[in-house]
């Protein structure tokens, strides 16, 4: 007798579970070893709390009423619940606060795409540390986590969430045109971005500069190339990333870091540095994060904050793939 489970969910059997536990233990070891205490929050929260994370109504895909008519939702990630936790329970405590988690998150899936409705995230949040040092520390923890997971080839893409809004405003675009252009950039549609900028009356040369900037990614040499572009916004972003690169370089070497002026995140609560994690063994992004001071403000406390989350199952797949590649096959 076959009893189905919903698409996008899965059972984990002992063999895989043993491996996942090993991976989890390795990551937790890194997090705890650096002072990040593990927390657990409910998978169910009040919808109104999760909605503070903003976004396009995608803060929660699954919502329902409880027995007294309250609107509840399944969390889609852990940063918002931890912001809620810090605002509620640590508002009077002395910062910084360091937390880590291994937790299930829930998102809507497109049918027949191999996407997971329920998936495991491993991550950290650093709240209340001075901004620049905090970001560097979070990247260091991420580097150590990738080492511990055995992802020797993984790369951290480092970008700036404020760059393009800044740049488009510098070009004199109105609010609507800025939002429309950012939407194209976030959708990774460079053709659409070009059309949007041309439609807004931006001069050809500046359109070309914008597009080139969105494609500027690579080692430290791209920081100079962004400076050379001549726009004040690009110069400021390059300055911020250079400062970050310098302090990273003096601490860990930052050998995994790639700079990416076109990087955007789907989540709307980021400001300042943002990051994404890639592995050549996997065609999908392993995780991401960044600085989210604005989110803390939405919860009523004025603290700088940064963190990252890794998709644990994807990390596991990348781990297996990297191992396979090392052993000889493709």
């Amino acid at each position: 007798m076959i009893h189905p489970i919903p698409p996008g969910t899965r059972d984990v059997l002992p063999e895989e579970m043993r491996e996942l536990r090993k991976l989890q233990a390795a990551l937790l070891g890194v997090f705890e070893g650096r002072g990040y205490g593990e927390v657990s929050t409910p998978a169910l929260e009040y919808d109104e709390v999760l909605a503070r994370g903003g976004g396009r109504g995608d803060h929660a895909a699954y919502r329902f009423f409880d027995e007294s008519g309250e609107l509840l939702a399944l969390r889609s990630e852990m940063t918002v619940p931890i912001a809620r936790l810090v605002a509620t329970r640590y508002a009077q405590a002395d910062p910084p606060h360091r937390f880590c988690y291994l937790a299930g998150a829930y998102r809507a899936v497109s049918p027949q795409r191999g996407e997971m409705r329920e998936f495991l995230q491993a991550g950290v949040e650093l709240i209340g540390a001075p901004a620049a040092e905090g970001t560097v520390e979070v990247i260091e923890v991420l580097e150590a986590a990738l080492d511990a997971a055995g992802l020797g080839s993984a790369v951290i893409g480092l970008g700036d969430a404020d760059l393009f809004r800044d740049l488009l405003e510098e070009l004199g675009l109105g609010v609507e045109a800025v939002d429309a252009s950012l939407a194209q950039l976030t959708a990774r549609d460079l053709v659409g971005l070009e059309q949007e900028l041309e439609g807004a009356g931006v001069a050809d040369e500046q359109v070309a500069d914008c597009l080139a900037l969105s494609q500027l990614r690579g080692g430290p040499e791209v920081l100079e190339r962004a400076q050379a572009q001549g726009s004040a916004a690009a110069g400021r972003a390059a300055g911020r990333l250079t400062a970050l690169a310098d302090s990273l370089g003096s601490r860990t070497g930052g050998h995994r870091v790639q700079f990416d002026f076109g990087l955007t995140r789907d989540l709307t609560y980021y400001n300042g540095p943002i990051l994404e994690v890639y592995d050549p063994a996997l065609g999908r992004v392993l995780g991401g994060g960044g600085r989210y001071d604005g989110l803390m403000k939405r919860f009523g406390i004025d603290r700088s904050a940064a963190g990252f989350a890794l998709n644990l199952e994807r990390v596991h797949v990348a781990q297996i793939e990297e191992r396979r590649r090392k052993e000889g096959g493709e």
């Binding site: 191999g114 959708a187 460079l190 990614r217 065609g283």
Partner: protein, 214 residues
């Protein structure tokens, strides 16, 4: 050692011009033109894989191909697939249109009398989005081929379909009523490959840009 960059090449209507523009970009395509039944071809520093145009986003999203070429119609229909759209290659130009029968006002009548139009299409999401954005309601009928037949036999009042020369419409006594969007071939890239193989992808993109503007 990194494997060659894998390029998804669309078979079908875009095939010939895709090979031409690849030739122009200095990519050897003679083997693909030979009518071989193979699906994978080695070409210098690249591996070319031939797939259906509508499968290109699937391969590229998953990283099974690092980059690919496909029509904007396909990308619009599968806009939830996160791939980078890097270049408008300019060829394969056609229009997504709403068409109805020549000399018949079935579309208008249905809208006035029933408040809803029945639209047959192979592009359900594009059609849905278009009518939603213009404030009209439709009953969507998804078909897999020869959509022109639908209004002729009363399956639908009109169709949303891709039109290149307009000859198929004409032969079936259909005419364009509204243009929804212009489509051309696009160069797309996988999200991870776009970051980790930046130099190779940028190089291919700039050669393709040159070739497509010649």
């Amino acid at each position: 050692m990194t494997p060659p960059l894998r390029v998804a090449v669309p078979r079908g209507a875009l095939f010939g011009e895709t090979l031409d523009v690849l030739d122009g970009a200095g990519v050897e395509t003679a083997e693909l033109r030979g009518g071989s039944r193979s699906l994978i071809f080695e070409s210098g520093a690249l591996t070319l894989v031939t797939v259906r145009p509508s499968d290109v986003p699937t391969y590229v999203e998953a990283g099974a191909a690092d980059v690919g070429i496909t029509g904007k119609d396909v990308l619009l229909e599968q806009s939830d697939r996160p791939v980078y759209e890097l270049l408008d290659l300019g060829f394969g130009r056609c229009r997504m249109v709403l068409a109805g029968r020549v000399g018949s006002d079935r579309l208008g009548e249905s809208e006035r009398e029933l408040g809803i139009m029945r639209i047959a299409t192979k592009y359900p999401r594009i059609a849905e989005r278009y009518f939603e954005s213009t404030g009209r309601q439709i009953e969507l009928i998804e078909v897999k081929g020869s959509v022109e037949l639908a209004p002729l036999v009363g399956l639908s009042d009109g169709i949303v379909d891709l039109v290149a020369t307009g000859r198929t419409l004409e032969e079936n006594e259909l005419e364009v009523r509204e243009e929804i969007v212009q489509c051309t071939a696009r160069f797309v890239a996988n999200r991870v490959a776009h970051k980790l193989r930046a130099a190779e992808i940028d190089d291919l993109a700039s050669r393709l840009r040159e070739a497509s503007r010649r």
